[in-house]
Amino acid sequence: MFKLIFIKELKEILQSSRFTISFAVCSLLIILSFFMGAQNYLAGKAQYEAAKQENYNQIAANTEWMSVNHSIMLPPQPLMALVTGISNDIGRDIEVRGRGELSAQNTRFNDEPIFAIFRFMDLEFIFGVILSLFAIIFAYDAINGEKVSGTLKLCFSNSVSRASFIAGKLAGSFAGLSVALIIPLLIGCALLPVLGVNLTGDEWLRLGLILISGLAYFGLFLALTIGISAMTNKPSNSFLIGLVVWIFAVLITPRASVLISGRMVEVPNVDEITSEKNRYRFQLFADDRPKMADFSVPEGTEPQQVMQEFSKYMSELSEERAKKTEIFEEKINEQYINKRRQQERLALSLSRISPASVFSIASTELAGTSLGLQNRYMDSAQDYQQVYNDFMTEKTGTGGMTGFRMIISTDDDSGEEPETIDASELPEFEFQKATLSSTASRSLLDLGLLILFNIVFFGGAFFAFLKYDLR
């Protein structure tokens, strides 16, 4: 009986014009998103290579390491283009100095602000927004439509159990629709190498998991909608309810959870932190002022000597202040980061009541474009800063501290044109991608939640139908 209903459901879906139209639209969008993702990636990669070359050329034009300005860039990755996550929102360029805080500049949206408004049509958007909506359009009248039309009564005038009917219906519609999605998804995947985007085995695995979680996400919306249809008598009602649920799940919950967590965990803003740091610095300076006044030299010291002594005394004080400032700022920064992480974690946890957020978190995590991307990039940059600092210290004796660098002229007096430096000696920046195992462990919760949502909604639809008034 299950098989009969399963096949009937499958055939009915495949023969409906609703299916034909939405299949065409979805296929087009899916393939387009792969295509545009690939194009974006290739363009980003070309730009990255060019910028890297430019940076190299600039360095190579220098005659001494001391005057080098070095920037590192976030290398583009294929999965970043397919599931953009935050990759367009974070700064891509970091000017590396031997010491001090690093800051990333130039987001993608800086260059192309139009995308900041309309965003990209990446896979997360296609699944998260469009396909979930299609699931509702498909299934809103799955049960009550059959009741209104009367086929439900005719079916159940036979010896048919409700359980096998709803199971066949759920399985049939999921199979029919997911097969229809799998086809363009596979075409999209096949398109990647054709367009010149070569994924590593690791990346294929991640992409596979992204697509599977996308299908799971689609499935839960399908089951949810069928469930709503099995709890209402009129298709217009179930459509409306489905739409409201969708709006809350996809549009409101993620934003609301960010707002709520913002209320619940106070994080000082960057200006507050800067002014706090400044205040501390002024305070230190004010504290030192009496000490500066205390400066004295034995009577009769040569003025030249006095100047030297004074300069030494002042720089000792300043050094001490710098040390204190650094410790203080580190503490403040750490507090700030901890607070912010706490806020982010809360927002993510809250948002997980919506399957849409769960899917977003899972897919960006798998693509390496979740919030962790920024941290990973900064961590990689800081690691690199260390290496760079060591390198510069070796080359110049001071570490590559631009800003207040002293010009010490080393008189070679060779009279020759100074030779340019060998830029290839510079250590390469390497962006540390998240390992597969760390990604797996971080996305496990969300993949599990997607499965849980599926179980809950499929089960909910099942039990709702057992109680459904068939007349």
Binding site: E12, S17, G150, C155, N158, S159, V160, L470
Partner: protein
């Protein structure tokens, strides 16, 4: 077939025993209804709109639970063992609806299989559709283009193909043109002759009188009159029906009608 009919001839294939249904909103749709339909019999339920005909059929099909009493199909209580009971019954509603994206053939194939018959061939389906008078050009057309009468014919074909001993018909001729209505009447006569027990609700008194073995008149959920075909000979059923439908009948008035009928 013959011997099987002989053995079950004694017991009713469809039986409503003290059926009472009070809906959640307090409407009493059925009041202690007792009906028996034997194999090879047609029982016509007459009654105005809201008399309780559909309610009766819905209880037989386990779509609703009776407040009191039982409905039996082939001796099986259809509310305590609906799956078993429904193996023995075929149903045609007053407005047959099939899957609009399927052709007539696909629909029939699905519903007949759902009815437990999986070894029919296409020629069997064609025979059934010919028998109910659906034009052969329509066999492979999608149902969404069908008229109500054409759908009704498909529904009847499905019921015939299910080949269940009992048949429930809820105003089956509504929407059929006169010719099709006549053919239908002939058809259910044939089914009766095959030994089926047929319970049919209808507003068509003339046809009811023409083919039924029993006629029952329902008014506000009460079976207010029941006649055998023999008892109806020479009776003006229309008058009887209209008077019962018009409203209540005092016991004495009923006797009056009955004596009038007999004259």
């Amino acid at each position: 077939m013959e011997t099987a009919n002989e053995t079950i001839k004694q017991a009713p294939l469809l039986e409503a025993r003290n059926l009472t249904k009070v809906y959640e909103d307090g409407v009493k749709a059925l009041d202690n209804l007792n009906i028996k339909v034997m194999p090879g019999e047609i029982y016509a339920m007459l009654g105005g709109n809201g008399a309780g005909k559909t309610t009766t059929i819905n209880i037989f099909l386990d779509f609703i639970q009776p407040t009191n009493g039982n409905a039996f199909i082939n001796g099986i209580d259809s509310n305590s063992d609906p799956l078993e009971a429904k193996k023995n019954v075929a149903f045609v509603s007053e407005n047959v609806q099939l899957y609009p994206n399927f052709t007539a053939m696909q629909n029939i194939d699905f519903f007949v299989r759902l009815g437990g018959k999986s070894n029919y061939k296409r020629s069997d389906y064609e025979n059934a559709l010919n028998r109910v008078g659906l034009q052969s050009e329509a066999f492979d057309k999608k149902l969404r283009d069908f008229s109500k009468g054409m759908r009704q014919k498909c529904g009847i074909a499905i019921a015939i193909l299910k080949n269940a001993p009992a048949i429930l018909l809820d105003e089956p001729t509504s929407g059929l043109d006169p010719k099709a209505g006549k053919e239908f009447t002939k058809l259910i006569g044939e089914l009766r002759d095959e030994g089926k027990a047929i319970l049919m609700s209808t507003h068509d008194i003339f046809r009811a009188k023409e083919i039924s073995d029993h006629v029952g008149i329902l008014n506000n959920g009460e079976l207010v009159a029941q006649r055998t075909n023999a008892e109806l000979k020479g009776v003006n059923l229309e008058q009887l029906y209209v008077e019962y439908m018009a409203g209540y009948m005092e016991e004495t008035d009923q006797n009056l009608v009955l004596t009038n009928d007999l004259n």
